[in-house]
């Protein structure tokens, strides 16, 4: 973690802390969603950006986290403080089991395996009615809002979710600069060269995949305790795609990119939804789909480094000029 990262983390924490005072419930909802998606997207950034592996089934890990935490809470009466870590562990464990045989292979086998996992997960949620309650879902999940008198539930939930999101951000920023981050970047550049250097490529890829799934599991569990109602519908392939779009738009080479991408897409979706009020009844989000698709293509073709990359290159151009302007004598 660099000094700049610490300053940014502090700024984000301060903004979240004062948000419930100034922002409306609508804006708080957007911030909560950004936090949730951001946690999952950062996991994808680590996986895609560092190890150059794609997951097309991250919605399943998100959903698994949500269902594990929700079901343990409603069925066994366990506290969210217990069930959320269990949800993360469950998502990580499933990823480990799927990834262990698949990641020994070179190439894009993980994309296919996770695609399959996503579909299987949807089918199980819909069919295994005794456990999952089937397509109609279930409610009554405990809320995780911290008890602060005089504050709306949105604001109190915001604190909890962003406390976790900031911790994940900090952990990930540290991780990419650690020995693990260096090993993963080496694997992303060339698996053969990394193996020759003595890096256990399969092991590292497996670890980052499990970690990435655990992030999604945490985000999903927090989501369950935020909406307090679960059904299989939100955890399908489209959500996996959406998370991937967030990672690519934000910038897959940067941890901050994950958060930036999540925020951008959440805000963009809301703006579209409000500016095109029911222009076509019966289906919501037609234009969203078109624009997401177009954005994905445009980002890869024109700006492969994403918004974080654009910000960094602007920063690199502006910073020296600013320094010169502030301290002309040292120029």
């Amino acid at each position: 973690m660099t000094r700049r990262d610490l300053i940014l983390l502090g700024a984000v924490a301060a903004a979240i802390l004062v948000a419930p005072v100034f922002a409306s419930g609508y804006v708080l909802g957007i911030l909560v969603t950004t936090g949730l998606y951001g946690i999952a997207t950062i996991g994808l950034v680590l996986l895609v950006g560092l190890a150059k592996q794609v997951s097309l089934g991250h919605a399943a890990f998100y959903g698994l986290g949500a269902y594990v935490s929700g079901l343990l809470g409603t069925r066994l009466g366990l506290h969210p403080l217990v069930t959320i870590p269990l949800a993360a562990a469950a998502a990580g464990a499933v990823a480990y089991l799927v990834g262990r045989p698949v990641l020994r292979l070179r190439g894009h086998y993980l994309a296919m395996a996770t695609l399959g996992l996503g579909v299987v997960f949807q089918v199980i949620l819909n069919e295994w009615v005794d456990v999952s309650r089937g397509p109609s879902g279930f409610s009554g999940i405990a809320s995780i809002a911290v008890p602060i008198p005089g504050m709306t539930r949105d604001g109190r939930t915001l604190y909890v979710i962003w406390a976790v999101a900031l911790a994940i951000l900090a952990l990930s920023l540290w991780l990419v600069r650690s020995r693990a981050g260096r090993a993963l970047r080496a694997i992303g550049d060339s698996e053969i060269a990394s193996e020759l250097l003595g890096i256990g490529t399969a092991t590292w890829k497996l670890r980052v995949f499990a970690l990435s799934a655990a992030y999604a599991g945490i985000a999903g569990a927090l989501y369950a305790h935020y909406v307090t109602f679960l059904s299989p519908q939100p955890f399908g392939f489209v959500f996996s795609l959406e998370l991937l779009v967030m990672a690519v738009v934000g910038g897959i080479a940067s941890v901050w990119g994950g958060m930036i991408g999540a925020f951008t897409i959440v805000v963009l979706t809301e703006v579209l939804r409000r500016s095109l009020p029911s222009s076509l009844p019966g289906a919501s989000g037609e234009l969203e789909l078109v624009l997401f698709g177009a954005a994905l293509i445009a980002m890869v073709v024109v700006w492969p480094t994403g918004l974080a990359g654009i910000a960094a290159s602007i920063g690199a151009r502006v910073t020296p000029r600013l320094r010169r302007a502030i301290r002309p004598a040292h120029g």
Binding site: K52, V102, G116, V119, V120, F292, L296, V300
Partner: protein, 292 residues
């Protein structure tokens, strides 16, 4: 009981034929451009939806079918010109996947804008009472699906084996750099591969629509199934992909009576199983599009 088995087999072969066409599209584009084209299923959807729309507008079915195939081929060309063309050779395989996922999402969104969520119907090619054979009731359209698929596979085979364009496509699949060195325009071949897979997918859609419904979101699952079929066949192996499609269809046909709900999961369990045991497909690596 035997008649039941025959029935499942017939259903499976019909489904498998469509998967085979989708898988063939995957293999063609993957071999020539190196991109896994996630928009493949959307071509099937476009074929079905455009044909249904034109028939409703009063066009005779054969004309509507030709227009639908041409339309999907045009969309295939657009996917190449607007996305892949700029990226092939410059962007990582991961980036190529992102581009085709983007294209698939955009096409699905446009279809939703144009046609809404209501499913459409398409009349059978030759309406009439179902046929009976070996105790199985065979819908006439099922026969048409198999005939159409066989005809398309035959035409594609001739294209690859007997024409200059086909030889150039195979050359690109075998070795892109060497193909360029002998003067083959690799970008043009990329364009042709997408046009071809667009048309092949749309034929599948037109043939399938009369026995299911056509809807804007049918492409997702068909694309995924076709992809599984292509992986079963070894991803860069055209005959293998066709065989993979048929195997998957027949497996699903037999799984239907056990649990129709878990049927969709079956394909992916098969996929994961194959990757564990035979990661290069059931038929081993690299027959490609045929030797040059």
């Amino acid at each position: 009981m035997t008649s039941d088995l025959a029935q499942y087999l017939v259903t499976g072969i019909a489904l498998g034929s469509i998967y085979a066409l989708v898988a063939l599209g995957f293999v063609t584009v993957f071999s020539v451009t190196g991109a896994i084209n996630f928009a493949q299923g959307e071509f099937v959807m476009l074929g079905a939806m455009i044909a249904a729309q034109l028939v409703r507008a009063g066009l005779p079915l054969p004309l509507a079918a030709v227009a639908a195939v041409a339309g999907a081929a045009l969309v295939g060309a657009l996917v190449h010109q607007l996305g892949l063309r700029q990226a092939v050779g410059r962007v990582s395989p991961l980036g190529l996947v992102m581009i085709t996922i983007g294209a698939a999402t955009a096409i699905r969104g446009l279809a939703l804008l144009a046609w809404g969520t209501d499913p459409r119907t398409l009349p059978s090619f030759t309406p009439g009472p179902p046929l009976e054979a070996a105790g199985a009731v065979i819908d006439r359209q099922t026969v048409w699906i198999v005939i159409t698929t066989a005809a398309v596979l035959g035409l594609v085979y001739l294209l690859f084996q007997r024409t200059a364009v086909g030889r150039a496509l195979r050359a690109c699949a075998a070795d892109l750099v060497a193909a360029r060195l002998v003067g083959i325009d690799a970008r043009r071949m990329g364009l042709i591969s997408l046009v071809l897979s667009g048309a092949v997918g749309a034929v599948g859609g037109v043939a399938l629509a009369p026995i299911t419904f056509a809807s804007y979101d049918m492409g997702l699952m068909l694309g995924l199934k076709g992809f599984v079929a292509a992986v079963l066949g070894g991803m860069a192996n055209a005959p293998g992909a066709v065989a993979g499609g048929l195997i998957l269809g027949i497996l699903e046909g037999f799984a239907t009576p056990i649990s129709s709900g878990y049927k969709d999961a079956l394909a992916f369990l098969v996929l994961i199983g194959v990757m564990l045991v035979r990661p290069h497909g059931l038929f081993g690596g690299g027959i490609g599009l045929g030797r040059v």
